[in-house]
């Protein structure tokens, strides 16, 4: 594809345009896909669909953001998917238990979410400590946490049963929109106009899902931390060369623990948000492979598993590439299995570009 085009002109990668294309090939590929799907699938090129894509991939975006930090340091976090399941199940379980008390609903939701977020720090702390102090390979440490979190989650779920019976306000919050426009009649914020009957609901235009706001805020904060703050500089330094980082006076062990805790916390946020989105507490199934898709998104976004490379916006684009691929293929009526194959091929292309032009990034 683009690789052959680039390699046939050796001087091309040195030019400004060439570097921009090479650095952001995923973005260009995303735009290319959007254009193609706009023609092949009716209903693809609509605001409602784009909002849908972002809304449905919000947990994947959080997981990819988590994975980005770990991959920049040269590690890998295989536990994100199951930490997500753990905090989802715990938040839901706590909410169910609190529902039996006389607590008001907002408190139930807040306390449950807090529990989910706090518990998610623990796996990260443990795997971070194992990696940093005991020099356990990140692959093994986080794989161990994968097993442990999965087991505890299934215990919370009493086997393979999602936790139901949560406050009805949850999915309304998680799937709500900021602005509702009933063309020619009314504009409301946060809530659907009350007078609307069920059969009129299709006339309603919804803009800016809450998930979009959550994603934007999280990505802005992480972007600031990674690219404008000392924390991010240290992260890149560790990924580039650990020994140099130690000599430069960075407390590498402490920093690594923080990185794994951040990753785990973001996975926990994804889990809690998942409760808001679905209205139930979900365990993570084996075949979901959230962690592998998160790694895939990060790599498509230009990170290298060797460490030292990666951008938060790149990972965001990486998730969008995977999400648009899924959505577009489905809308165009292509069989869903083709997606798996396409993801595989895309990954190979991404890494090949990274290998062929190491000085590009």
């Amino acid at each position: 594809m683009r690789t052959s085009e680039l390699s046939s002109r050796p001087g091309f990668t040195q030019t400004t345009i060439g570097r921009t294309v090479g650095r952001n090939w995923a973005l260009f590929f995303l735009i290319f896909m959007v254009i193609v799907f706009a023609f092949t699938g009716s209903g693809f090129f609509e605001i409602a669909n784009f909002q849908n894509i972002i809304h449905l991939s919000s947990t994947s975006i959080l997981l990819a953001a988590a994975e980005t930090f770990v991959i920049i340091t040269g590690g890998i976090d295989l536990s994100v998917g199951f930490v997500m399941g753990l905090s989802s199940a715990l938040a839901a379980r706590i909410m169910v238990i609190l529902s039996t008390t006389a607590l008001p609903v907002p408190w139930i939701i807040i306390l449950g979410s807090l529990a989910g977020l706090v518990i998610s720090l623990i796996p990260g702390f443990i795997s971070g400590t194992l990696v940093a102090r005991f020099k356990v390979p990140p692959f093994i440490a986080t794989m161990g946490m994968w097993g442990i979190c999965n087991g505890i989650t299934l215990r919370l779920c009493h086997g393979f049963f999602p936790i139901a019976g949560l406050p009805a306000a949850l999915p309304e919050l998680g799937n709500g929109y900021l602005i509702y426009i009933h063309p020619g009649k009314s504009i409301t914020f946060f809530q659907k106009p009350e007078y609307l009957a069920d059969n009129q609901i299709r006339e309603l235009i919804r803009l800016i899902p809450f998930s979009f706001i959550l994603i934007t805020v999280v990505i802005l904060i992480l972007w600031f931390i990674l690219h404008r703050h000392r924390f991010g500089q240290h992260t890149y330094a560790i990924g580039d060369n650990v020994d140099a980082a130690i000599r430069a006076g960075i407390d590498v062990n402490r920093h690594l623990v923080k990185i794994y805790m951040l990753s785990s916390f973001l996975a926990g946020l994804a889990g809690v948000y998942n409760v808001f989105q679905t209205g139930i507490g979900n365990y993570t199934t084996f075949s979901a492979m959230y962690e592998l898709f998160a790694v895939a998104a990060v790599v498509i976004g230009g990170a290298s598993l060797a460490g030292g490379k990666g951008r938060i916006l790149g990972s965001f684009v990486g998730v969008l590439v995977l999400a648009v691929l899924k959505n577009g293929l489905a809308i165009s009526g292509v069989e869903p299995f083709v997606r798996y194959i396409a993801v595989g091929v895309l990954l190979i292309v991404a890494v090949t570009i990274d290998q062929l032009f190491p000085d590009l990034f």
Partner: protein
């Protein structure tokens, strides 16, 4: 290895460090024998072997790759791929009117040959294009999953030859005390007469291959080359080892073992589906690591990997017989996994 200046005590602790998996396995087995009634029996051991066959094969597959310093994430879905292909082929050949034994044999051979392809592609990606094994094999995971679901069209294969199931669930030896002794065929005895079934066929099948490749790994030049590549890839290349060729071969071997496991899955459960091996990946890698192989490559043996498999399998069957929910297994496997690496760390520090 620094052997000079070791005291006797250090030697003892070093030995314990090397053999702790074996000790742990004995302790584990003893614990379940006491706490789960009926655990301590020949049947339990056979059951462990029977249900663990896929894990034994996948762990061996993973071991070869891990020795070279790589990782193969695709084994689980190559297993699924093989189950789909072999079950589909059996159905097709059976409908052509070929005898059951013929169609089983032909399907097995074709599946094993096709099963080499994912490994070949993995190997080329890793060795020639220098794509990190994690990414290359994950891509292959997606590709094999896609292809097998495409072939399956959402419906697992039906109407497989009955013979497949009877081979897969059969035993090598049947003994009716004082009356009959027969190989492969269950003797016709009246209902209620106890027939002792000894050694499941699939276990013989699996361990034959594992033994051959354990021999290759330990005694043949190919095996030594794998350790050399895992130890130091540059040194291996300079010593004149064809690193690329060996890497391609090792990923093909891994894929071969995964397809073998797939065939065994079909014979055991008489069905084939794309996600048949989805849950096996953690167990396979965990078994290799518990068996003392380093993720950085250069170490690990088949014998110790088998021990690692046993640690997990004994745990699973033990928990099941005690009536504890099986998902407690995941917690314990995770803990044992981390514990193993810590112990290895501790003993390697001690030896210095």
């Amino acid at each position: 290895m620094n052997t000079t200046g070791k005291t006797c005590q250090q030697n003892l602790i070093g030995e314990m460090g090397k053999r702790w998996v074996f000790l742990f396995l004995l302790l584990e087995f003893a614990y379940f024998s006491i706490s789960a009634s009926g655990y301590f029996s020949f049947d339990t051991v056979q059951m462990i072997l029977f249900y663990g066959t896929e894990i034994f094969l996948l762990a061996s597959a993973e071991l070869f790759v891990i020795i070279t310093g790589g990782i193969d994430l695709s084994v689980g879905y190559v297993l699924g791929f093989a189950t789909v292909i072999s079950s589909k082929l059996m159905v097709v050949f059976a409908s052509l009117g070929i005898s059951p034994i013929g169609c089983i044999l032909i399907s097995i051979v074709i599946t094993l040959v096709i099963g080499l392809i994912p490994g070949f592609v993995n190997g080329v990606l890793v060795a020639k294009l220098r794509i990190p094994p994690f990414i290359a094999t994950f891509s292959m995971l997606g590709i094999t999953q896609g292809i097998s679901e495409l072939l399956m069209q959402g419906i697992p294969a039906k109407n497989l030859p009955i013979l497949a199931g009877s081979i897969g669930n059969g035993y090598l030896l049947y003994i009716v005390p004082g009356q009959a002794l027969s190989f492969f065929h269950r003797p016709d005895v009246p209902r209620g007469v106890r027939v002792y079934e000894i050694i499941p066929n699939v276990v013989v099948f699996a361990f034959l291959f594992i033994a051959v490749f354990a021999f290759i790994l330990k005694r043949m030049r190919f095996g030594q080359h794998l350790y050399a590549i895992g130890g130091n890839i540059d040194a291996a290349a300079r010593a004149g080892i064809n690193v690329r060729k060996n890497l391609v071969a090792v990923y093909m071997l891994s894929s071969f073992f995964a397809s073998l496991a797939g065939i065994i899955y079909v014979m055991k459960y008489i069905t084939g589906k794309a996600d048949a091996g989805a849950g096996f990946l953690l167990d396979a890698i965990a078994a290799v690591v518990i068996g003392g192989a380093s993720m950085f490559g250069g170490s690990g043996t088949v014998w110790r990997t088998i021990l690692g498999c046993f640690v997990i399998a004994v745990l699973e069957t033990g928990l099941r017989m005690m009536g504890t929910p099986t998902f407690d297994k995941y917690i314990l496997v995770g803990v044992i996994l981390i514990f193993t690496v810590l112990i290895e760390c501790f003993f390697s520090n001690f030896k210095k």
